[in-house]
Amino acid sequence: MSYLHSIGQYFLMIKAMFHKPTKWSVMRHLIFKDIDDLIINSIGIVSFIAFFVGGVVTIQTALNMTNPLIPKTLVGFATRQSVILEFAPTFISIIMAGKVGSFITSSIGTMRVTEQIDALEVMGINAINYLVFPKFVALMLYPFIISIAMFLGILGGMAACVFGGFASLDDYIAGIQLDFIPFHMLYAFVKTFVFAFLLATIPSYHGFFMTGGALEVGKASTTSFVWTSVAIILLNYILTQMMLS
């Protein structure tokens, strides 16, 4: 029953997010601040992870291609497919659930504990709109991060491939251009937008409706990471089934 209650409360929060909007002059600043906190500040870690995991994907692929009949272009092809279809949208989103999700839950949760949310509500402000909506708008720029992850993942793969001596640069470039299906990009970005919505709302829910003190803020951050990850994995499966099969 408590799960059903939580799910209902989550959807009511989403509805409330669009009600009684905060003054635009105030909201504008909040959106820019959240773009800085959630998007700009994530570029570094995402770039780092994407570049090196792209390299690892390439090395693993190359090392498993022992049959001399398999063309070397397959290394680039496999790296591109892995990075675009799964690694960038899904794997990075799980990492973001930890980084951005924990940040959102702990910042909103701390505001709950220190009565700052009560202060907003007493003033007659729709605290859900004030706190969650700017994060939702900021994370609509999330595909920008995923695009960077895709680019750097393939670039990291290229560096690993060439410097590791697994295939030539020409083979790798030919591989990443091989049988390119533009619909796969659409699929990846549809997933990205859905995950961005989850990244903005699930951690906000866990922060906004938490009760207790500082210890519970930590627990709420962990719970929010778990549930955001679960939701991402489940929706990843459903969207893949719907769009690719």
Partner: protein, 255 residues
């Protein structure tokens, strides 16, 4: 003036408020006192509209809260100022930005007009030079004064304070008490203070409502709280030797 009629509030099976009826007068510092767990905070949050009572009504200068539309409730809330126990200042904003926040949200004033108002109010609470500090850089007493400044900046009709001097040294606590009383008289607002600090009761308790187990046990003023023979009130008031001596002094004065 706020009229409270037969307010009931429960959380699950636990009944917190069991039918409180009282009136909080305009231009006076009204105190809600009682032991921990007596329902003070729930009562205050119900008066603020943060909790919806299951039964009873709260009338703010002729406006029954439960009869108001959503927009009217928002307008009414904009007339309220609140000083929270932990000050509840926004961490990411400077002191001046915290105080300016209600003006930015609810008025169409120009930036210079808002700045002038913030300067005035911060000077009123003796914080004229603290504009650029962050709340984390301010002492507990300063944070409370910023919270008072934020609460009064938009000229509220109702000021609510939840244990405004908790965690403060006695001298700073007296400064805060006096400041709230001065502001109440100066702006002619209805002020309700939730406290269990007997010094506040003595200093500024123009009207006192004593709660026990979710019920109003007694009401009166600081002038007659020492003369009451209500056992619950005397048990609360004379829990320290100091106030036993104060009672003796009062009784001797009367004789």
């Amino acid at each position: 003036m706020i009229e409270v009629n037969d307010i009931h509030k429960s959380f699950g099976d636990s009944k917190i408020l069991k039918g409180i009826t009282t009136v909080f007068d305009k231009g006076k510092t009204n105190l809600i006192i009682g032991q921990s767990g007596s329902g003070k905070t729930v009562f205050l949050k119900t008066l603020l509209g943060l909790y919806t009572p299951e039964q009873g009504s709260i009338v703010y200068d002729g406006r029954n809260y439960s009869d108001l539309s959503s927009d009217e409730k928002s307008d009414l809330r904009a007339e309220m100022g609140m000083v929270f126990q932990g000050s509840a200042l926004f961490d990411s904003m400077t002191i001046a930005e915290n105080v300016m926040f209600p003006l930015r949200m609810f008025t169409k004033q120009s930036k210079s007009e808002m700045q002038d108002r913030v300067d005035l109010v911060l000077k009123r609470v003796n914080l004229g030079d603290a504009h650029k500090k962050l709340p984390s850089e301010a002492s507990g007493g300063m944070q409370k004064r910023v919270a008072i400044a934020r609460a009064i900046v938009n000229k509220p009709k109702y000021l609510f304070c939840d244990e405004p001097n908790s965690g403060l040294d006695p001298r700073t606590a007296t400064v805060i008490d006096n400041l709230i009383q001065e502001i109440t008289q100066e702006y002619d607002i209805t002020t309700i203070i939730n406290t269990h600090d007997m010094n506040s009761v003595m200093e500024i308790g123009e009207k006192i409502v004593f709660l026990k187990d979710g019920l109003k046990e007694w009401e009166g003023s600081n002038k007659n709280i020492f003369k009451t023979d209500n056992e619950a009130v005397t048990g609360f008031v004379y829990s320290s030797d100091l106030f036993k001596r104060v009672q003796k002094m009062y009784l001797e004065e009367d004789l």
